[in-house]
Symmetry: C2
Subunit: 298 residues, 2 copies
Amino acid sequence: MSALYGGIEAGGTKFICAIGTGPNDIRSEKIIQTTTPDETISHVITFFQKQLEMHDIAALGIGSFGPLDADPYSPTYGSITSTPKKGWVNTDFVGTIHQVLDLPIGFDTDVNVAALGERMWGAAKGLDNFIYLTVGTGIGGGGLVNGQSIRGMMHPEMGHIRIPHDLKKDSFKGICPYHVDCLEGLASGPAIEKRWGSPPEELPKGHKAWKLEADYLALAIVNYIAITSPKCVIIGGGVMNQQQLFPMIRERVKELLNNYIQTTEVIDHIDTYITPPALGERSGILGAIALARKMVDS
Amino acid sequence: MSALYGGIEAGGTKFICAIGTGPNDIRSEKIIQTTTPDETISHVITFFQKQLEMHDIAALGIGSFGPLDADPYSPTYGSITSTPKKGWVNTDFVGTIHQVLDLPIGFDTDVNVAALGERMWGAAKGLDNFIYLTVGTGIGGGGLVNGQSIRGMMHPEMGHIRIPHDLKKDSFKGICPYHVDCLEGLASGPAIEKRWGSPPEELPKGHKAWKLEADYLALAIVNYIAITSPKCVIIGGGVMNQQQLFPMIRERVKELLNNYIQTTEVIDHIDTYITPPALGERSGILGAIALARKMVDS
């Protein structure tokens, strides 16, 4: 019997737990509502305990909402730290699981982990440098540089970059509680809803909201390009279900770069350079499985 | 006789060539004016040929102005590519030297290489993730992520990020020929000179130019922090000889982050987090020596 891998996609509204080896081999999966840390994590543990009665599990990968501490040398490694999510501040996520389940556990941000999924089975197959961005309730970004997940002082917080905000063109102030009109404050799902009075999914495809949204996301992407020079930019999340955004973003990125960056990716292959996740909404949970596999392989 | 290392800091106005092993052991050094590629590179070759008559040189490191191709798997590896520097477009820099000098040659951007110098002997000793920014005639940024120089689709072009530009506060349009009011267009030395009518070094320390300059650089730095989460941000270059900028930048970065990033580096140690290069103007040439050492060690 060859071993399986466990994955947890820990989100602010739900946790997805799964075991398997990859996209075509998920043996069991369970959705758990995110309530208190005690309750939620105990349901998670119960799921994996039951699986362990039936299967050999080699390792567990966790992609979590944050901010969190993913530095194995830190005393608070494995915790969700200063999150705005009520009740979850300073939750020792990995420690609590590890006390009960004696498995190697990998832990990183939801977006860094989703990026791993896209690298192993999706749109970034084999790439050592790319960005994975999600645009939904919040905006988060992760990815790899030099073949490894981006991590330094802490993890990236790519949704909180400052971008030009022309108040004459867009008088909406922004809704980030920390930075007001950072990218997330201007372009997240709730920002769109507050600006236009309707949730994104109810705005018509021809609404001027989408041109503005594409402009903001393009500004963010040219900054990611200037700073880490990704070989691919994957954009997922609920807002990106508006597929009409992709051609608008691609065109605007080219306009903004204005031939300063003359690579074949940008000049000849912009359609694959700026792309939806190939794994769709499964990047997160499959990325968690990918992280578990990485724990054993490395 | 133990081997020495050769370094070239290739700039738009001058090339510095040196041999040695580190900051306290530079055996010979020569400054060559940057004229045509043929003339300049032939002077460079002559310098190293003479050194090779006297010394054993194990490898050569080059930090160059760009844009350039530093991808060893690319057919144009080792070239300066689409540079605005007259006469230097598509110059096969590494190839021309390698035809004559049979040495391992390392090649990267001036800023990525200066970062290596600061990592080996300077302000980023041992750090695997930090940014090195230079603010002068242009603005360039490089550094390391996951222990290696940042490289992907191409190298970073950190001076060309878009940042908020409040035309009511600063009606100066910007001077970047590609992007008008990107960071470089607003905050480089020539931008300061054009905005205020005097070169930076002639503006009094109390001039309001410096508050504005600190604001722009702080906006850039919070974006670098949000995207790569560096453990240290080193800022060099001619404009940063205005030492009064450092406290203003540090204060403004803290204001802009607004307690969203709660790390000890930002909260407790901002003075060492945002810092001048410890090697001063020597980061570039010493970084080239560091790159040469890395070619042999790795």
